[in-house]
Amino acid sequence: MTMPLLEVEGLRVTIDGPAGTLRAVDGVGFSVGRGETLCLVGESGCGKSLTALAAMRLLPRAARMTADRLAFDGLDLTSLPERALADLRGRRMAMIFQDPMTALNPVHTVGDQLVEVFDRHRLGSRAEGRDRAVRLLERTGVRPAAERMGQYPHQLSGGLRQRVMIAMALMGDPELLIADEPTTALDVTIQAQILRLLRELQREFALGLLLITHNLGIVARVADRVAVMYAGRVVETGTPSEVLGDPRHPYTRGLLSCLPGAGRGPRGSRLGAIPGVVPSLVGPVDGCLFRNRCGEAEADCATTAAEAPRTLAPGRIVRCLKAGVTA
């Protein structure tokens, strides 16, 4: 087996707050292979964005991170000095964010912000940088590209800005692209276009894609593999057909039942129609964290063993006592 592009094992992110230490990400593990798309799915606040930022080593100052393994193409990201990390970012691993309205710098032109990546990583002359920027804008649908180069972010719509972000992420010809809820802030019609663009580009550029979303509906269309997160932990992994077709964790089943067309739930409603609230992640916690919202919970669910990962098949892992039982 070849080495995965991004390997994450036992990732923990904690944030110190006035009420205590928040365990936002608690032992997350997954991997993304070259040219593979992994969807990380979960409700807002489950720690998926922090996981993405941790992979880029761009966590906010208040957050502290430890990991058993966090590696990009075999490079240990936990021990790499900041300078070496910066050499990777934008060049071999790139990231796009949720809100395109604020992710671009308002005082620089689109062109300058794109070419900046090229210059920073010394990928060629300025003219070559501009050429590549124009081509990528053209490819991502920011047209007329030459004219858009001289415009400022506030002159573009949200959808166009996200396209600019995507073009910018591709400036360094990266191997890994991390996309953190890239369509959430956009209009529904534009969401589909951006998603289609991402999928095309992923194939065209043979990108390893870590796509973070709260929308299970996206998963079936783009993912090679899926990891479902709940309260800072990965509770179920598998292929889309496994996870969507044969969900083994009650939380995944809950998410699925909230999808439009799956019976209950109004059309277009987001996740979160599962009753109950996510538990506080401040301080030590034992057992399955979903048990207060789970219709099938029993006494054993409060034990440490309840949340131990169970491997059903290679790449098919579920953290539930009843994982063996088909629903």
Binding site: D99, A103, N105, H108, R120
Partner: protein, 305 residues
């Protein structure tokens, strides 16, 4: 941008108008101008004659318009004390005050901007605490007293600097430090909070995700945004320095417009006071308008609106 600037220009002109009314009122409040002009020993008839001769018997609005017209032509009235035109009195003193204000502002900026940036990158570090303490210090210290203490320490005990007068640039060192310290805190706080906001912004995270190194992230992305309000506050503080020059110029015996204002106030020479108030206000209005232009140049959201 043209619309924005025209709007700002219109507001500036309106403000200049109301400031001129206040300045005019200040002169009228000071007492009977005809009496002052005629002198203390003038008879009632003489005072009345002076009043009519100077048009002081006309209704106030008419007098204001007359005065404003002359002011627009550069005629700011005549000193009751020396009979010289107020405009030429001011013109003679302006270079000293301009030198003082500019050196003070240069000092304040040289201290405030780097400190604000460093403090913002390391909140709650020792350098953040020291710069905040310096800001509290600069805000709370009475500048007349600080000037005297500097004079005592550096001029008298250490003999490093001259203690009064305005003959050489060395004479401006202590006054500039005194005045600069009073302008520093606001600029420092604005830089710091602007930088904290900018460093927190998504676009800075994007810049780091592009692999940019800290100097580029700090200067090209964060400071470039944080500098917008700093430009505005610098203009405001520069205007405040001109007004604050009254105290510092009197402490260090600098012969600028602050000193002229103080002497004229003591002599109740209100035409000169009025002219200085008017001029300092106008300079302030021009400075804030210039900072609006600068902001429009620096911020494409305004420039291209």
């Amino acid at each position: 941008m043209i619309r924005f600037l025209l709007r700002r220009l219109a507001i500036s002109v309106l403000v200049a108008l109301s400031v001129s009314i206040v300045a005019f009122a200040l002169l009228r409040m000071s007492g009977d101008l005809a009496q002052e002009l005629a002198g203390e020993r003038a008879t009632a008839e003489q005072v009345e004659a002076v009043r009519v001769a100077n048009g002081l018997d006309r209704p106030l609005p008419v007098q204001y318009l007359d005065w404003a017209q002359r002011a627009l032509r550069g005629d700011l009235g005549v000193s009751l004390f020396s009979g010289e035109p107020a405009a030429s009195l001011i013109a003679a003193r302006l270079p000293v005050t301009a030198t003082l204000a500019l050196t003070s502002m240069a000092l304040a900026l040289a201290l405030a901007v780097p400190l604000g940036v460093i403090a913002a990158t390391r909140p709650n570090s020792w350098i953040d605490r020291v710069s905040l303490m310096l800001a509290v210090f600069g805000q709370a210290i009475p500048n007349f007293w600080f000037g005297l203490i500097l004079m005592l320490v550096f001029g008298v005990y250490l003999r490093w600097t001259p203690i009064s007068g305005s003959d050489t640039l060395a004479h401006f060192v202590l006054p500039s430090v005194t005045l600069g310290l009073s302008a520093m805190p606001a600029i420092m706080r604005m830089t710091r909070s602007g930088m904290i906001d900018a460093l927190d912004a998504d676009y800075v995270r994007t810049a780091r995700a592009k692999g940019l190194l800290m100097p580029a992230v700090l200067v090209r992305h964060a400071l470039r945004n944080a500098v917008l309000p700093v430009v505005s506050i610098t203009a405001v503080q520069l205007g405040a320095l001109l007004g604050g020059s009254v105290v510092v110029e009197s402490v260090f015996a600098l012969n600028g417009i602050g000193q002229l204002a103080y002497q004229s106030i003591q002599r109740l020479d209100f035409p000169v006071v009025q002219a200085i108030v008017l001029m300092v206000s106008f300079i302030y209005i021009v400075l804030t308008f210039l900072s609006d232009i600068a902001n429009a140049r620096l911020d494409p959201r305004i420039r291209l609106a």
